[in-house]
């Protein structure tokens, strides 16, 4: 065996910088995904014809690989006169992709809230939008949180696919160093450890968020 992990130290600043880009892609992609996912979920449970648009979007995106979607956005769209930077393509791809899954997570959470909650708020004169914002969504979020967390972690790791559309994120950077130093084991291990670190922190943040949101079930005041 000729493993030498000390080589990592020399390149660590670059790896960390690349990990920073990974975080940036994941955060923006997920934020975009939450936005699309919310809209798609609300459309899907609405009784308007727009629900078919949501159905189609979810069907299309969940049924095709993220890598193909990224290729279509980055390499395909320029043929139609739409040229996006690698960064914009990545965020767009991650957002559209995670949005389809998040839509179903949000829909599940919203539909899990008993109809009595809506009846109670309607009876108090609250309109549809106010009921959704103040009564249904906060409860749905608590139910959906574990699945949301799951999708966030998946999206964080999926950002590695952006390496193939020229993004110098963590995986691509590791790949480059691995080939120039002939030390693939060391660099891919380093990449794996950094991904693990990021997903661990993300999980911890999500857990603490879940804990805070569940306070009404813990405060036994009597």
């Amino acid at each position: 065996m000729n493993l030498d992990f000390s080589i990592i130290l020399k390149y660590l600043p670059y790896l960390l910088q690349a990990a920073g880009l990974t975080i940036e892609l994941a955060v923006l992609g997920i934020a975009f995904g939450i936005l699309i996912g919310l809209v798609a979920a609300l459309l899907k449970i609405s009784h308007t014809p727009l629900r078919f648009v949501a159905h189609f979007y979810i069907w299309l995106i969940r049924g095709t690989p993220l890598l193909v979607q990224l290729f279509l956005i980055y390499f395909g769209l320029p043929q139609l006169g739409i040229t996006l930077s690698a960064f914009a393509s990545s965020v767009l791809g991650l957002g559209i992709n995670s949005g389809a899954y998040l839509a179903e997570v949000f829909r599940g959470g919203i539909e899990a809230i008993p109809v009595g909650q809506t009846e109670a708020s309607s009876s108090l004169g609250m309109g549809k939008f106010l009921t959704m914002r103040r009564i249904i969504f906060p409860q749905a979020l608590r139910i959906a949180l574990p699945s949301l967390g799951n999708q966030f972690i998946i999206s964080l790791k999926d950002s590695s696919l952006c390496s193939v559309i020229t993004m110098s994120e963590l995986l691509q950077t590791s790949q480059r160093f691995a080939s120039v130093t002939f030390a693939p084991m060391e660099f891919y291990t380093a990449a794996a450890v950094l991904y693990l670190l990021m997903t661990t922190v993300l999980s911890a943040v999500l857990s603490s968020f879940e804990w805070r949101l569940s306070k009404e079930n813990r405060t036994r005041g009597c």
Binding site: P114, G116, Q117, E119, A120, S121, S122, S123, L124, G125, M126, G127, K128, L130, R134, I135, P138, Q139, R142, K215, E216, N217, T219, R220, G221, C222
Partner: protein, 251 residues
């Protein structure tokens, strides 16, 4: 005809109400009037349509035919009309339907702040007075999950009252409660009746109906079969179906 009876202001007018669920006719032509300050108790077997009738009164069910006037304003199936009517008609449910993610106080001030646009301090003041009235001031910062059924239902009543409704509807408010908790809810309702609130109550608590109701309406198969003073309905029912229903209750 009681000519000596002074005509009172009517709060609820129901004319020719019909309600279908799919092909099933649940309400089959109901006409009714409820005067201001009157306490009307609806009785009937489960599936008789009494809860559906109640839910029509604040637009939770859309009408198939007929009309409902709340304080002379017709209830229309569009959101602006429904919102307007519902501010004036409080509703208390069998399952309380408190908002579990909000504290007792937050449950009560939610609609006054966001619907009536009251200042938060004013809303809190009203909520605290209502909580004192239903005997739950010390539970103001509790979450609903920590309350007993009787406490939960009293909070639900306070929540509805915070909107200063002209009418209160009660849909089997004690049916989900343990027997020993029924009394505390009925006491609050009795107090409300004494304060002059217009109330329509669906209940199986015949003792409450006897004591508090100004009028009892017996509903069967989506129609009003018989109505009258509690002493008439319970003491001397005229219709066969009323007699059969009441005798089943006594067994």
């Amino acid at each position: 005809m009681e000519l000596a009876y002074k005509p009172e202001k009517s709060m609820i007018n129901v004319n020719g109400l019909i309600k279908d669920f799919g092909k099933t006719r649940v309400i089959n032509g109901i006409d009714a009037t409820v005067s201001a300050g009157e306490v009307v108790v609806l009785i009937g077997a489960s599936g008789s349509g009494k809860s559906t009738f109640l839910r029509c009164l604040n637009g939770l069910e859309t009408l198939t035919a007929g009309e409902i006037l709340i304080d002379s304003v017709p209830l229309e199936n569009k959101s602006s009309s429904l919102k307007q009517i519902r501010r004036q008609v409080g509703m208390v449910f069998q399952q309380f339907n408190l908002f579990p993610h909000l504290t007792v106080l937050e449950n009560i001030i939610e609609a006054p702040i966001h619907v009536l646009k009251q200042e938060k301090v004013n809303a809190i003041q009203v909520a605290e007075e209502l909580l004192s009235k239903v005997g739950l001031y010390d539970k103001r910062d509790n979450y609903p999950a920590t309350l007993s059924g009787g406490q939960g239902q009293r909070v639900a009543i306070a929540r509805a009252l915070a909107m200063h409704p002209k009418i209160m509807l009660f849909d089997e408010p004690t049916s989900a409660l343990d027997p020993e908790l029924v009394g505390e809810v009925l006491t609050v309702m009795k107090q409300l009746a004494e304060d002059g609130m217009t109330m329509v109550v669906v209940t199986h608590e015949m003792a409450f109906a006897r004591e508090v109701a100004d009028r009892v309406i017996f509903i069967d198969e989506g129609r009003i079969v018989e109505e009258g003073l509690p002493v008439q309905i319970f003491g001397n029912p005229q219709e066969k179906r009323t007699k059969a229903f009441l005798s089943r209750l006594n067994h």
